[in-house]
Amino acid sequence: MKIVVCIKQVPDTNEVRLDPITGTLIRQGVPSIINPDDKSGLEAALTLKDKHGAHVTVLTMGPPQADLALREALAMGADEAILLTDKAFAGADTWATSLTLAKALEKIEYDLIITGRQAIDGDTAQVGPEIAEHLKLPHVSYAKDIQKEEDSLVIKRMFEEGYHLISVKMPCLITALSEMNSPRYMNVGGVFDAYRKKEVKIISIADLNINKDEIGLKGSPTKVKKSYTKGAKTAGKLYKDLDEKEAAKKIVEKLQEKFII
């Protein structure tokens, strides 16, 4: 079986802090990690490899530094790594990103493509299903378990309350939830191989059957009109003299203002 896992290198948003004076993000010194849902997708691929035998390729689109995420994936046990990197890819929204990845996937043999459900920097959950659509593949998203049965997969597809057990024939695309598993650590031999024996293949726009206008910022149907920070955290208002009913009303009012209820 041939599996391709699409991963994204993201800033560890748990480590992102706001500058208390300017209210802007402090990105300096924030470590980059493999997006958690993607990493669980990779673990699922490696588990299938352990059980049934498989060739696992990791694919990412990103700046040259994304090499680090691919090396980590190789050290965990992936067999091959591909980095899609080109200035022409920059500024892509989910549509253009998924098209670029799909064009790269057309050049790779696969029975199964795994992506994470969503990335922690954007939280859109769109790239997986959109890749599937570009490749005309069936997809199942929100997977919490993947079992292989001959040429099919049985997927536990999660909903808010409960799940569907779904059988889907390969080739197909699955989007993985981080709740699915605990990804393995890199081992020493794996790290050695990742840097000495294995290579990261670089793909640029020239290698893809695609027009420059279809991708990157230009090929993106959506544009960012403006962005702003919500500002730094300070102590809010303290209410000292409310009786319980007034206090309860005040809390409800604030929760409504913030669209929490």
Binding site: Y228, E244, A247
Partner: protein, 337 residues
């Protein structure tokens, strides 16, 4: 594609077990506002089989109802639903199409956007029409909520967005609006069922991890005794969250270790954190100060927890919490009317 050919605000109506989901009713409320600003109509698009109370869509703001009522569409499957909606877009050419940001909407909408080649903005918290050029302004959080971005989709139609449940407000019910239902006839072939559902399991969420909860009601020593945690549970239930605790409450043995928030417990960042009877030792604050919105209730007005709280209430939590549960129920009833 000619932009001028596209008109109308469409809402995908989600149904589960033949019941229209609340998020879709909320979206109809927003769609009404948008349609008014554009001088257009609201169209509800329902996909399912023998769905109950379809007339409610009119009562809550739809000017038109499109209904694909087929046995094969009884339960959500990505491809048949995508096929139906792609045909709707093809025939009706909506200017805007809204979806709930649910486990269904977040699967269906990107598949559909991919098919009809348009942009999609996920998990929007605000939607408006630009007074200046009629652009559809879709605002959403990114970077774990640290940044807000306003997104536009200038050259593709429909402009698509998903919105989380509870973000938009239902409009007032008007039972005099009886809207005729137009049926959509889309042929669903066996090959459209690109996967097979072997089993459908309905369950209230498995025991949730406090790190995954959107709402945490956290209790400390000030709760007074383990029995009082029952009220906290009730409040958590009312807000769709779960109960966590401070180290003090764990050390006394009132709460299990796995729900402890703080440096020696777990770090949490829910949308809402209500700290009840927690003084706010540094080790506790380190585990929760990144929560989106913090409410603190404590008898001691000098408690450090108030320094990170968005709303601080000085008072007796064992009186305030029951009152709060009542107020929330009233607010919910008012919203559902």
């Amino acid at each position: 594609m000619k932009k001028e050919d596209y008109s109308g605000v469409f809402v995908f109506i989600e149904q589960k077990d033949q019941k229209i989901q609340n998020v879709s009713i909320e979206l109809l409320g927003k769609a009404q506002e948008l349609a008014k600003d554009l001088g257009q109509e609201v169209t509800a698009v329902l996909v399912g089989h023998n769905v109950e109370h379809v007339e409610r869509l009119g009562h809550y703001g739809a000017d038109n109802i499109l209904y694909a009522n087929q046995k094969d569409l009884n339960i959500f499957m990505t491809e048949p639903y995508t096929k139906v909606l792609a045909e709707v877009i093809d025939n009706k050419k909506p200017e805007i199409f809204l979806f709930g940001a649910t486990a269904i909407g977040r699967d269906l909408a990107p598949k559909l956007a991919g098919r009809v080649f348009t942009g999609l903005t996920a998990d929007c918290t605000s939607l408006e029409i630009s007074a200046e050029n009629r652009d559809f302004l879709m605002t959403r959080p990114a970077f774990g909520g640290n940044i807000m971005a306003t997104i536009i989709c200038p050259d593709h139609r429909p402009q698509m967005a998903t919105v989380r449940p509870g973000v938009m407000k239902k409009s007032e019910i008007d039972t005099t609006r009886n809207i005729e239902i137009e049926s959509i006839d889309v042929q669903i072939n066996p090959e459209d069922k690109i996967y097979e559902i072997l089993e459908v399991v309905n369950e209230k969420t498995e025991k949730m991890d406090i790190q995954e909860a959107n709402v945490l009601i956290s209790g400390g020593r000030g709760v007074g005794n383990p029995e009082n945690f029952v009220k906290l549970n009730e409040l958590a239930h009312e807000l769709g969250g779960i109960v966590s605790s401070s180290r003090a409450a764990v050390d006394i043995g009132w709460m299990p270790k796995e729900v402890q928030v703080g440096q020696t417990g777990k770090t949490v960042r829910p949308n809402l954190y209500i700290a009840c009877g927690i003084s706010g030792a540094i080790q506790h604050l380190a585990g929760m100060e990144e929560s989106e919105f913090i409410v603190a209730i404590n008898k001691d007005e000098t408690a450090p927890i108030f320094e990170v709280a968005d709303v601080g209430i000085v008072g007796d939590l064992n009186k305030i919490i029951p009152a709060l549960i009542d107020e929330l129920r009233l607010a919910k009833e008012a919203k559902n009317q």
